[in-house]
């Protein structure tokens, strides 16, 4: 699984490609993928933070 930083890097890469491709259909596809990568970055943020916190809590017990 990729972490939030990696997901955001992929989102930026998709946006860069969308800006450079010059084909409207492809641009829409790439922007949609960029949006999904940003959503995944949010998922990664809370999931990874939650897992780390849970591990920390169980270590403290």
């Amino acid at each position: 699984m990729r972490d939030a930083k990696d997901c955001l890097a992929r989102a930026s890469e998709m946006e860069r490609r969308a800006g450079a491709c010059g084909a409207p259909n492809l641009e829409t596809e790439l922007l949609s993928m960029a949006q999904t990568w940003r959503y995944l970055a949010q998922q990664a943020l809370w999931q990874d933070a939650f897992t780390a916190q849970t591990l920390q809590d169980s270590d403290l017990k």
Partner: protein, 357 residues
């Protein structure tokens, strides 16, 4: 059999007419590569006139624009050896025309009545075709890349969905360990097991490549193997067997079937063997014919309890199975002899009777 041309003059007239008629540029050269004749399209394409063409050495034409190493190789090396050469590609910057990709067809004509020979040299301008091919290749490459990127994205989505389910299951298990009430612990562990089951179905669908049609046999076999690994304890070993034909099924139905099998397995593991049994077994069967598919989950346990046990029948598992069977438009029958057998039959769409208006 072709009719002979009456005289040599007529033959020359015919040859010239052919040269003038063909669409592609064509040159007729003598054995020293001087131009004997050129087609009208040659003059038009390469913007030269007959006065400065006929009788001139090919390599000197148009201020030496035809003095091309590849063309020399074709005429001086290949043609003497092979007599004919088709599809010889020359990429050259022609003055006034720009860079062009030309496909050359050359043929040496040998006469029976003369020691002289001539060479026919035809040109096809494939610059536009090559540009289209390059564009097509580039488009294909971009499409392949996009598909790869989408595949990576889809996999990441599936990993995150699985992770969410795993987190929910972990929370339930943490809570189950923390509570003091046995009943609450039972329900929390039950909920944990169900979330794990959903995660298993999701993960097995993911592993099958996300295609629309799922092969039922391998799907159920893998699903049951991992369910058995997580549910069947050492205190009561249960042999789990999957028997399935080579049927395939839509992924939407595969989800429902997976969840039904999971619920029935949970039920069998929990309630079919309240006392130790040596040869405890659960068999999952999937069979499909022209009319319908049938899913059967049977055990050799104690069968249906006379006094309803919590969760069997009428428990959450039954509610879930009922809902899934209804969603599938299937028919469920339960038999209790030598254990318990649940059979779900689903007619194929084509086998359904027509709906009356």
């Amino acid at each position: 059999m072709p009719r002979p041309i009456p005289g040599i003059e007529d033959a020359q007239t015919l040859a010239q007419a052919i040269v003038d008629t063909i669409h592609e540029p064509l040159l007729v050269l003598d054995s020293a590569f001087s131009v004997l004749a050129a087609s009208r399209s040659f003059y038009e394409t390469f913007k030269v006139d007959p006065e400065h063409t006929v009788g001139c050495p090919l390599y000197a034409l148009g201020d030496g624009q035809w003095d091309i190493p590849a063309l020399r190789e074709l005429l001086e090396t290949i043609i003497p050896e092979r007599v004919a050469m088709n599809g010889f590609e020359v990429n050259h910057d022609f003055p006034g025309l720009g860079r062009r990709v030309m496909l050359l067809n050359a043929r040496k004509v040998i006469y029976e009545t003369s020691a002289n020979s001539t060479i026919l040299l035809a040109f096809t301008d494939i610059t536009a075709r090559r540009a289209i091919e390059r564009e097509k290749e580039s488009l294909l490459s971009r499409t392949r890349d996009l598909l790869n990127q989408k595949e990576v994205l889809l996999q990441e989505m599936q990993h995150r969905v699985a992770n969410s389910l795993q987190i929910i299951a972990s929370i339930l298990m943490l809570k189950a360990r923390a509570v003091t009430s046995d009943e609450i612990r039972f329900h929390l562990k039950d909920a944990h097991q169900r979330v794990i089951s959903v995660a298993e179905v999701q993960s097995h669908l993911h592993a099958s490549g996300g295609v629309n049609q799922i092969e039922v046999g391998p799907y159920l076999t893998k699903l049951c193997a991992s369910l058995a690994a997580s549910m069947v304890g050492d205190s009561q070993p249960i042999a789990l067997k999957v028997v399935a034909d080579d049927a395939t099924i839509g992924s939407d139905k595969a989800v429902s079937i997976g969840l039904i099998v999971t619920e029935l397995l949970i039920n069998a593991v929990k309630y079919a063997f309240p006392v130790f049994k040596d040869d405890a077994r659960v068999t999952v069967t999937f069979a499909s014919d022209d009319e319908a598919w049938t899913l059967t989950v049977g055990d050799n346990g104690v069968g249906k309890a006379v006094k309803p046990v919590q969760g069997r029948p009428g428990g959450l598992g039954t509610v879930i199975v009922d809902a899934l069977v209804k969603q599938l438009d299937g028919q469920m029958t339960v038999a209790s002899a030598d254990g318990m057998t649940v059979m779900i039959r689903h007619p194929h769409l084509a086998a359904l009777p027509p709906v009356e208006a």
